[in-house]
Symmetry: C2
Subunit: 351 residues, 2 copies
C-alpha cells in the first residue's frame, strides 16, 4: 500500500460519464435511470429501453465503487500467492499457474472478480489489509508457507479466509487441500511395487504438505517392512532449484538410492535433469515419482509418473469455502482426493 508518486489517475477519472448525464439526456431523473439500468419492473417499458439504448450507445456503465458504497456490497475476492522474501521468486511453479487459472474460472463463474497479489511470507500478517480496507470480501491464499500461527490469527480476527494447504491440529482457519498422506502413500507403494527399496524423499518437510506426504511415504515403507532411512530424506525448496539441490545433497551424503519421491513435478523434473547430468538413468537406475500432475508431466522426458491433485476441483472448492464464510456459514475445510498417474519415470508396470 505504498503510494509511489501521485499517479492517482485523478485527471482521467474526472471526466467520466455518470448517471446524471444519462438522466439529463433521457429527460428523466437519476432514480429512473438507476431503476432502468437495474431492470427494476417499476419503470415503464419504453422509457427503460430508451435509457438502456442511450447508456449502451454512450458506453455508460454504473460506477461500481459508488454502487458498492451505497449497497454495502462488494464482489471481489483477494487471491494471494506468497513468495519467499529471500529469493523473491515464487511464480515459478507451473502448478501455481494452473491453480490461478482454476481460481479465476471459479470466481468468474460465480460473478466475482479477483484481486491478485504476491506478498512476502514474512508479511502474511498484512494479508488482511485488503480486507480491512474493504477492498475484498475475503482472501484465498495459496499455500501455508509455514505461517500457521499468523493464519490462525487472521481467522481469529474473523477475516474470511481460505488457505490451500494441509489440515493441521489447532487449525482455526479454513483449509482446502488434497489428501497428502494418501498421495505420499500411493507414490511410495508404486515405487515399492517396482522393486525399489532405497527410496529418497525430496521436499521441504518444514512445510505441512510435504510433511504429510512424508508421513504417507513412511507408512507405505512400514507396511512393507522397509526401514525409514533418515539420510534418504532431503529437504529442498519448491523452486526450480529444488531438484538440483536435493540430488546434490544426496551425492554429498554419499548415500545410495534407487528411487525418488518428489513433492512437486517441478522438483521431480529438475531432479531428473540433475540425475541425467550425473549419468544416472531414469527410470532404470533411479525411478522417480512427482506430485501435482502439471501439464508438462505428460510430455516431459521421461513422461512423469505423478500424484495428481485435482486442480479444477480445487479452485471451485476454495471459492465455495470462501463464499460460504462470507455468507456467514461455516468454514468447512475439505480434503480432495489424490490419484496416481502412472507414466514412464518410475518404470513401466502399473501397480
Amino acid at each position: 500500500m505504498s503510494k509511489a508518486g501521485h499517479t492517482g489517475s485523478n485527471e482521467a477519472a474526472r471526466q467520466r460519464l455518470q448517471m446524471a448525464d444519462i438522466a439529463r439526456l433521457a429527460g428523466v431523473s437519476t432514480a429512473t435511470v438507476s431503476r432502468a439500468l437495474n431492470n427494476s419492473p417499476l419503470v415503464n417499458q419504453e422509457t427503460r429501453t430508451r435509457i438502456l439504448e442511450l447508456a449502451a450507445s454512450l458506453k455508460y456503465s454504473i460506477n461500481i465503487g459508488a454502487q458498492n458504497l451505497r449497497l454495502k456490497q462488494n464482489r471481489t475476492v483477494g487471491v494471494l500467492i506468497p513468495f519467499d522474501p529471500r529469493t523473491h521468486q515464487s511464480l515459478t511453479d507451473p502448478f501455481l499457474l494452473a491453480m490461478l487459472g482454476s481460481l479465476a474460472d471459479a470466481l468468474t463463474e460465480r460473478g466475482f472478480d479477483m484481486l491478485f497479489s504476491r506478498i512476502g511470507t514474512d508479511e502474511i500478517g498484512l494479508a488482511a489489509a485488503s480486507y480491512d480496507s474493504g477492498r475484498v470480501i475475503g482472501i484465498i491464499m495459496v499455500g501455508q508457507w509455514g505461517r500457521h500461527q499468523e493464519l490462525n490469527a487472521l481467522a481469529a480476527r474473523k477475516v474470511p479466509l481460505v488457505v490451500w494447504g494441509a489440515q493441521l491440529p489447532q487449525q482455526l482457519y479454513c483449509c482446502v487441500g488434497s489428501d497428502n498422506v494418501n498421495g505420499g502413500r500411493l507414490a511410495t507403494e508404486h515405487l515399492i511395487a517396482q522393486g525399489r527399496r532405497r527410496i529418497a524423499f525430496f521436499g521441504d518437510s518444514a512445510l505441512p504438505e510435504p510433511a504429510q506426504r512424508y508421513r504417507g511415504y513412511c507408512e507405505a515403507l512400514a507396511r512393507h517392512g522397509i526401514a525409514v532411512d533418515p539420510r534418504l530424506q532431503v529437504s529442498c525448496s519448491f523452486l526450480p532449484e529444488g531438484g538440483h539441490e536435493a540430488v546434490a545433497a544426496l551425492a554429498a551424503r554419499g548415500v545410495d538410492y534407487d528411487a525418488v519421491f518428489a513433492c512437486s513435478d517441478l522438483i521431480a523434473m529438475t531432479a531428473i535433469d540433475s540425475l541425467r547430468s550425473l549419468g544416472r538413468h531414469v527410470p532404470d537406475e533411479v525411478a522417480v515419482v512427482g506430485y501435482d500432475d502439471i501439464d508438462q508431466a505428460s510430455w516431459f522426458h521421461p513422461r512423469l509418473t505423478t500424484v495428481r491433485q485435482p486442480i479444477g476441483a480445487a479452485g471451485r472448492a476454495l471459492v465455495d469455502a470462501l463464499l460460504a464464510q462470507v455468507e456467514g456459514g461455516a468454514a468447512l475445510s475439505a480434503e480432495l482426493p489424490t490419484e496416481l498417474v502412472i507414466r514412464a519415470s518410475a518404470g513401466e508396470t502399473a501397480t
Copy 2:
C-alpha cells in the same frame, strides 16, 4: 458481470468498523481522524498518535471504496489474459505465469493493485467493462489474439490500454512487445549456422507475433540464399498440443526437415516430445529452437536453445506505458530487445 445468486457479502460488510467509530472512541470528530490517518500536519501531534494507535489496535483501515469515491481516485489496474473460447484453456503456457509475476511485481512496486481476469477472445470488445464501471484505471492485455480491430476500437474510445504484442500498421493502441523480427532472424541464423537447410516454422501465423517471427525467418533464409518452402510453414496453436499438431501436420504432408523454429518454448518442447515418439533424434536429426526462454528451457532435455524475451523488463514497460497514459501522457509503444540463448537442442556450437 453476471450476478450469480445473492452472495453480495452484505451481511459481513455490515458490521465493519468505520471512521466514525474511531472518532467516537478517540473523542474527536471524523475530520480529525481523517486528517490523522492521512498524516496531515494540521493535527496535533499527540491527538494524532492517540488516533493512530487506536486505529492500529483495532485494525481499522480506511475504507478504500469510499475514499476513492470522494477523491475520485483509484489505484487498480486490470490485467487480462484472453482465452480461446473453443478450448477455454489458455493458462497453460508457463510464459504467461512469468508475465503475470512480472506484472504483479511492477504494479506492486508502483503502489497499484491488479484485478486479474480471463476473457474470451470473442468478447474482447467487453474488455473495457471494468474500465467503464470505474473498477480500474486502465487495462493491460497480454496478447493481441488477432483482435486488432477491437483493440483499435478501445483505444479510439480513449480507454487507457496497453497490449503485449507486436507493432502493426494502423495501430491506435499502445503496444509493448519484443523484437519479433529479430528474434525470428536470430533463431534461423543459428539453425543455418548449424548447417541446417530444411527449417520448419511452427506457430500460428495468423497472429501478429508469429507472423513477424516468420518474417525474420524468411529474411535469414533469403540472406543465405535458401528458398522459403511454404510446406515447411505449419500453423499451430500456442496450447501444449501445438508442437504435437505441428509435427503431425508435417508428417502428413510428407515433407522432409532437419530443423524446427518454434514460436514458443511450449511448442518447441511438445514438438520435441513428438519427434522423440517418432524416433527422430534432437538435435542430431532435427535441431530445434524455441522462443521465450521460460525457466523450464534450461532443464528440459535436451536443454532448449531459444530466443529470450525480457520478461522482467516487459512487466515494467507495460505498467509504465499504462501509467503514462493514465496521467494523460503519450501512449508510447515500445519494442524490447530479444536475444538468442544457445543450449543443446539445436546442436552444440555457438554461432
